[in-house]
Amino acid sequence: MEISNIWYFLSALTLLSALMVIMSKNPIHSVLYLVFTFFCISAHYVLLNAQFLMAVNIIVYAGAIMVLFLFVIMMFDLKKNIPESKSSLTKLAGSVVAGTLLVILIAIVRKNNIPAPLGDKFNSQTGMVENLGQVLYGEFLLPFELVSILFFVAMVGAVLLGKREAGERNF
């Protein structure tokens, strides 16, 4: 099979499942479609020869983050909270804006002056763990260490917002 055919198939699948995320009425189904979307994106990473990203995407997004999503859905009483539907004017405005962006992006792709990969500099192994580690712990040292500060903010934030305070109900 031609590799571009696989790409087209995967992209169609990704778009379809992403659409189902926002179109399905049941939030649990939405989450499951989202997991499927993440798997499709991981498959895209395989096509790009980025095995590390693929593994991380499945472990972190499809695994851990989706569990959080399910937790959040379980924390709400879904029967009481049926989201009110937006007015048709809002929907229309949203579609116009999104449609304009889509048209612009398509027009740009069709202009066809996307630079070809540099033949001599192209390295198919860029996405492999060894090369990624070399870059991450060499050139990208500052962002790497800063991520720990970002984690810290997230951790303190979670503790601050999620900790049960005195006088709150406990179950």
Binding site: V46, G63, V67, M75, Y137, N170
Partner: protein
């Protein structure tokens, strides 16, 4: 080593095999097993106390807090993978970098424990 996308084919074959097995078994059990429906038999706890209400009750935020902390430390482990693969090439410099990273997150972990987030009963 020179990996190409087609090297992942075995993984996909395995995935497909696993999925196919699940589908096959599920179809088989439904097709082969006898079907006897009754109100009692379709109950969640057939021979327990009568079930009241709904399973969809809100859960405590404590579970969520633990889950969020799990995700954070899970991400931290992800950063260790490319480091471990390159352990020898990165030599001492890489080691110090990782010590700083882990040290910061260890401080976070100690903070979380001291704050009593992981103690269930208080």
């Amino acid at each position: 080593m020179n990996y190409q996308p087609q090297d992942f084919l075995p993984i996909f074959v395995q995935l497909a095999a696993a999925l196919a097995f699940i589908v096959l078994v599920m179809v088989l059990t439904h097709a082969l097993g006898p079907k006897r429906h009754s109100a009692k038999k379709d109950d969640s706890f057939e021979c327990g106390i009568e079930s009241i209400g709904d399973a969809r009750t809100p859960i405590s935020v404590k579970y969520f807090l633990v889950a969020i902390l799990f995700v954070l430390f899970d991400l931290e482990i992800v950063f260790m993978y490319p480091w471990a693969v390159n352990f020898k090439q990165l030599a001492w410099n890489g080691f110090y970098e990782m010590i700083v990273f882990m040290g910061l997150l260890l401080a976070g972990f100690i903070y979380v424990i001291k704050k009593g987030i992981l103690t269930w009963e208080k």
